[in-house]
């Protein structure tokens, strides 16, 4: 009975906590990868502490700063289709030179080229393609914020391989995005700055301090923001972690009480057969190790399967709050050794401690007295 209680409690607790922890680690790692591919510096225009569109005339000012290799314009924003919100990104034709490598994650069609500027050609993610039932060659009409209809022509469809990044994305040329968002003439959402490989982005950023109304973001700041958001301070994560600790504490308490009554007889018997105090502690230790490792390992494997293969139904909604996972989005799951050993540490070690102490207390009692007390 005692073993069953421990097994079930540990199974439930470790399955829950490992599913959350592995998913959180996966999301954090994905965010890291994305930030690493972001521009060295992102420049925003601040007015009254609010982010507003930035004038493209800043480019000439920024380009003169030592260490700046290239400045690209970018317009992006959100577009509501049905009950979902999609990310619309307008790409600077100057950035579509494919100098950074070949884009292979297209399921069908092609990627944008500088010649697509102002043509209404778009590349879309799988979620949008699924929702609107469109394929390469189809036309779609999107309603903008200014209540204007905008016709676009699908020239490319992203593959499943890049869904985690592109599922909710509509890529178009900068001119088309500016028109879609009714951006004021000569203004874009932000500027992407690429720094010379020999220069430190932070040093180059410091040279922009005196430029008025400019906020400079480097990769490190973005990464810290994401890590803070996904970190252990996340409310639901902390709550689940607390539940696990409480469960372990309850089990520990239960162990202490039950062992005190049930195993007094066993301990007395073992001592009668010649077992020393150390032998008895060793037996109890081995028993707890087996139970602890069995339940915790099985729980973590279940948690991993739940998150990796089933996309953690139920739990992921709580984890993401008001955010949603697109249908084609595979939950990134990262089973780090650090997380695995952390879970072992908060489950197995407390179990060992709460087993050894009562076992030791029983073992140092006179065997006849222990058996008489247990029988009473």
């Amino acid at each position: 009975m005692r073993t069953a209680v421990i097994l079930i409690t540990f199974l439930v607790a470790t399955t829950m906590i490992s599913a959350v922890l592995f998913t959180k680690d996966g999301l954090e790692r994905e965010a890291e990868l994305s930030v690493q591919s972001a521009p060295d510096l992102t420049l925003q225009y601040l007015k009254g502490g609010r982010v507003e569109p930035i004038n493209a005339s800043y480019i000439s000012l920024i380009s003169e700063i030592p260490g700046v290799e290239k400045v690209l314009k970018r317009t992006w924003g959100y577009a509501g289709i049905g009950k979902y919100t999609f990310v619309v990104v307008g790409l600077d034709p100057d950035g579509l030179d494919y100098s950074r490598g070949v884009i292979t994650s297209l399921e069908d069609g092609r990627f944008l080229t500088p010649e697509d500027e102002g043509t209404g050609n778009i590349v879309i993610g799988k979620l949008l393609a699924y929702m609107l039932n469109v394929k390469v060659g189809d036309d779609i009409i999107l309603l903008s914020e200014s209540v204007e209809t905008n016709k676009f022509h699908v020239v490319g469809l992203f593959s499943d391989a890049s869904s985690i990044y592109t599922a909710d994305m509509i890529l178009m040329s900068l001119g088309d995005a500016n028109k879609f968002f009714s951006m004021p003439e000569g203004q874009v959402t932000d500027l992407c700055v690429y720094v010379s490989p020999s220069e430190n982005p932070a040093t180059v950023a410091s040279r922009m301090n005196s430029i008025p109304n400019l906020r400079v973001l480097d990769q490190d700041l973005l990464l810290r923001g994401y890590k803070a958001a996904y970190g252990a301070r996340g409310g639901i994560f902390t709550t689940l972690w607390t539940i696990l600790l409480v469960a372990v504490a309850l089990i520990a308490f239960s162990q202490a009480i039950v062992v005190g009554h049930e195993s007094q007889f066993e301990v007395g018997l073992l001592k009668t057969f010649g077992f020393s105090t150390l032998d008895i502690i060793e037996v109890r230790l081995a028993e707890s190790l087996v139970i602890g490792f069995f339940a915790t390992s099985l729980g973590m494997l279940l948690g991993f399967s739940y998150a990796a293969f089933l996309n953690a139904p139920g739990l992921v909604d709580i984890l993401l709050g008001w955010a949603y996972l697109p249908r084609e989005f595979r939950l990134p799951v990262y089973v780090s050794l650090q997380s695995v050993f952390s879970i072992y540490a908060v489950t197995v070690i407390p179990l060992l401690i709460t087993t050894v102490v009562p076992a030791w207390l029983n073992a140092i009692t006179d065997p006849e007295l222990a058996m008489r007390r247990a029988a009473a």
């Binding site: 700041l221 994401y226 955010a323 089973v335």
Partner: protein, 102 residues
């Protein structure tokens, strides 16, 4: 039986973990695509219309309004209140909440 199962399951878990570690360390798909698109966020969307709430807007600004950024903050503060957490204010640069920070 239980000791054998414990060893087998633990070994299986460590194997999964090592495999996962190696997979993630080698993961660099779509780097060219990500560099061309240049957005740092991953594809988690929002259904929450209340993001225009002035208080939440503070969180939006703390994340520099990266796509979906406010969702990360809102969801991570699902239970607790971020402004109560000293670490939150200190680790996110640009979180200009001086009245609380003191």
């Amino acid at each position: 039986m239980l000791p054998v199962l414990a060893i087998v399951l633990t070994a299986a878990l460590v194997s999964v973990s090592i495999y996962s570690e190696s997979q993630w360390s080698m993961r660099e798909y779509d780097r060219a695509l990500r560099e061309v698109v240049s957005l740092p966020s991953i594809a988690i969307g929002t259904n929450y219309e209340g993001t225009r709430n002035p208080l939440i807007e503070v969180f939006v600004r703390s994340m520099y309004d990266v796509p979906g950024g406010y969702d990360y903050i809102v969801s991570s503060s699902f239970i607790d209140t971020p402004t109560r957490l000293r670490d939150f204010r200190e680790t996110i640069p640009g979180f200009n909440f001086t009245a609380v920070k003191g």
